[in-house]
Subunit: 497 residues, 2 copies
């Protein structure tokens, strides 16, 4: 019996550095690995979207479109893949449909092949337009299930959602486990259920590794029929990141499944990023493995967010109350998956409830969530809290697709962009300003200065190592001392000779 081939999506150019080093990796640190990545035999190379667009203009003075074109040129054989937040695109609000069309069109034009389209609430209506635009561009539209655990989320519910995505024209289904919550058994059951119900639709499985459990989940998903799984090269793996690519290859030996990846290429990719990773050490989280989320249901990032909000209010000691409040707020909102932006919205409201009394003050975002302006959740919303939201926000609840209420905005967005210093007249620039209006103005004005990496230089790294190695001897910069001698006090400045 010949082995069934399992495709692999390599994450090192997008989600790996987003998860491990706050999305700070500069294009120049990726270029050296592209030839090997292009020839290693991956099903696709995730390299764009998610937070990379925002980080490129906010921290790196890099044009994300230029990065995409670079990847296209350096990896001509590969399917390039991006993560797209449906009607939000890569921004933090809903966009009118024509903007969605434009973004997808320009992404395809600049080289994107596979669009993983998701919505934080799993509301298919928020994914539909982007999926259609991908199909219109002749590209691969991947519909996404965000996995979470709640009293209303069931295996059957996920299977049903897969059906809705297939009906919308999804060429494949992604099962996306952003919090490393997907245990082996539900991984198996969901994949098996989708295959049994809808026939041989392609299923891609994306897991983070935070809880230490999910390589097993990938194994069980493969046994259940998954076609493609996501991993990151070992030197950029584990912790809040993903399972190591090489480990996946070795895991499958003799099992009747195989990846056909070129191990020599993988080791060269590994060695490249083993050299890059230390340069971004200051952005790394200390988490190695953490199973707390199975108990608390609160993702690590959300927890630290709430802690700093509490501290800012001088109430750092009330975190346990807030942690008990979160499940209640989440239930009131109809059990949204806790992922950006719903995690922040629910978390902040839980903090407000503890500090000021339950729903005495409601954030604008939470009111919008309660009133349907982010879309529908799987669970029912608590009608009493909906009423409070309506009163506080002075807005009606809606049941239509949120973007249906939007006016055409492309012309206005073009006009806004055209006023900016450094605007180059392209639709790409219009989109940059549309998604990150505050950041884009500054970026466009400084773009001509070129990329500004935040990585440590080799010199800085060896200076740090030297400092860590020996005891601190003397000074590295001028220092002023009070010096007493021959009975008199002098102010003396000393600097390295």
């Amino acid at each position: 019996m010949s082995a069934r081939k399992i495709g692999v999506t390599e994450l090192v150019l997008r989600d790996a550095h987003q998860s491990l080093m706050a999305t700070r990796m500069a294009t120049e640190d990726m270029i050296g690995a592209c030839e090997d990545i292009d020839n290693a035999g991956f099903w696709s190379v995730e390299c764009w979207g998610g937070a990379t667009y925002d980080a490129a203009i906010r921290f790196l003075n890099e044009d994300p479109w230029e990065r995409l074109r670079t990847f296209r040129k350096l990896m001509p054989k590969s399917r390039l893949q991006m993560l797209l937040r449906g009607q939000n695109l890569l921004g933090y609000r809903h966009y009118e449909d024509y903007v969605v069309d434009k973004f997808v069109e320009k992404s395809a034009e600049n080289g994107m092949d596979v669009f993983r389209v998701f919505d934080a609430l799993n509301d298919p209506r928020n994914m539909a337009r982007a999926m259609q635009a991908v199909r219109d561009a002749g590209k691969h539209a991947q519909g996404t299930i965000c996995y979470t655990i709640s009293p209303v989320h069931t295996v059957d519910g996920y299977i049903k959602l897969a059906g809705q995505l297939i009906d919308m024209g999804a060429e494949s289904i992604a099962l996306k486990d952003m919090a490393a919550l997907l245990q082996p058994q539900p991984a198996y059951d969901i994949v098996k259920g989708i295959k049994d119900t809808y026939g041989d639709v392609q299923i891609n499985v994306h897991c983070h590794s935070t809880t230490g459990v999910t390589l097993v989940s990938l194994m069980k998903a493969i046994e259940a029929g998954a076609d493609v799984v996501d991993t990151a090269i070992s030197s950029m793996s584990l912790g809040p990141g993903h399972n190591p690519t090489e480990s996946l290859v070795e895991m499958l030996e003799g099992t009747g499944y195989e990846t056909d990846l070129d191990m020599e290429r993988l080791l060269r990719i590994r060695d490249h990023f083993a050299g890059v990773r230390p340069k971004y050490k200051e952005f790394e989280s200390k988490t190695l493995v953490d199973t707390n989320i199975f108990l608390s249901q609160i993702p690590g990032g959300m927890l630290s967010n709430m802690e700093s909000q509490l501290k800012a209010q001088g109430a750092g000691d009330r975190i346990n109350e807030v942690m008990e409040e979160v499940p209640r707020v989440k239930a009131d909102a109809g059990h949204p998956p806790l992922v950006t932006p719903s995690s922040q919205i629910v978390g902040t409201q839980a903090v407000f409830n503890v500090l000021m009394g339950r729903y005495k003050v409601m954030t604008g975002e939470f009111a919008d969530l309660m009133l349907g302006y982010y879309g529908e959740c799987l669970g029912e919303r608590n009608p009493e809290v909906v009423a409070i939201a309506q009163a506080q926000a002075k807005k009606e609840p809606i049941s239509v697709r949120p973007a249906d209420l939007m006016e055409p905005e492309w012309e206005h967005l073009t006009e806004e962009a055209s006023k900016l210093e450094g605007f180059n007249g392209t639709e790409e620039d219009v989109l940059t300003n549309a998604m990150f209006p505050n950041v884009a103005a500054k970026f466009l004005a400084t773009r001509a200065e070129g990329p500004k990496s935040v990585a440590k230089t080799p010199e800085q790294l060896s200076a740090e190592q030297a400092k860590a190695a020996g005891p601190a001897q003397g000074i590295t910069a001028p220092v002023k001392y009070n010096v007493k001698f021959a009975g008199r006090e002098h102010s003396v400045t000393v600097e390295p000779a």
Copy 2:
């Protein structure tokens, strides 16, 4: 259907710190976790043997027997478990049978319950006496299969070995994967094969996590019928260590298998060791995940050993030749598993072969290996190399059990120990000197000074953090300088303003 219960052996007190921090953890850093470990519901607590005995007297000025008695007192409900290298006990040579009997008897008397007996060559004759001694003491004798990959090692061979161990009276079988080489499919096949062939004998599976693959192997072993698996609490897991205990618990949810471990206790154990681990950071390896061994068949520790041998000879650039030589030497020796001491013996000979010509110079240890003085390997030894060994060592090859050639030595060992300063007259002290004659003399002489931890103190840790955090500016205490200015030299004392 009720879930099948899976036992767990917690490794934090022995193999976890042996693998992660060169066995340096002091008893005082373990004591605070013992109550939770004792009550968490483990099948057993591995806490002694392996390298801990050597490290205790060599680095920590701790009496290993006192450590064992402490554990016995603090964990009255638990099965205490140790790793015992068969006829080698915990030392680096073969001992005469009465010494083996004595060691097992004293270990049982001081509180040991489960003896995992192994031999580096998988030669059952080297395990037989120790297993019998354990049974005579009324304790649990666990026979061990060391897992390796070679042309002569097959699933059927491992199943056959399990049968030999059962015939020797093993109460359970351990499948021991010290190099993280055990992939999911062979894990399944070996466990299934043993169960199918010999009925319901208890099987314990021990994997390291170095290659990132082996939590999946534990899952497949459990599916095949394994009864107990080894893990380490998450804050002392991964890298060259083991899979995290909490991840195992979460992995099994909903699968039809369960551990019954108390998660609250686990989290307290985790938090305890999360505080301890940084104190031993200087002993930690940097390895996070490394799949090289699947290609090279050379364990990481053996590789770095050979590298330093080459460097000492000014031949650091010849490591690739040595890596190609290792499989040849290993084959000539009959394919021993590469684990202490065979890994050092084979590695050193490979270095000699490259530097001086193949078998031009043979180490005494390698000659002994070729001549049968360590026992039998699974493969045939190369007769030409056996002849060279015979000529160089001026010794005949043997086919009997090595310990059969030994004279009674207990009386002599007692005499030797009684000459030492600090000898307390106990058989435990005789055994300490028997196993580590050079180290024991110094230890016994200084034992009265009490344990000397090599951990960093909280003060040292925060000083280091402070140093790493800010740039080192100036001095922290008064310093005297000779300063020349205005043409004259002055002795000047400077202190922080």
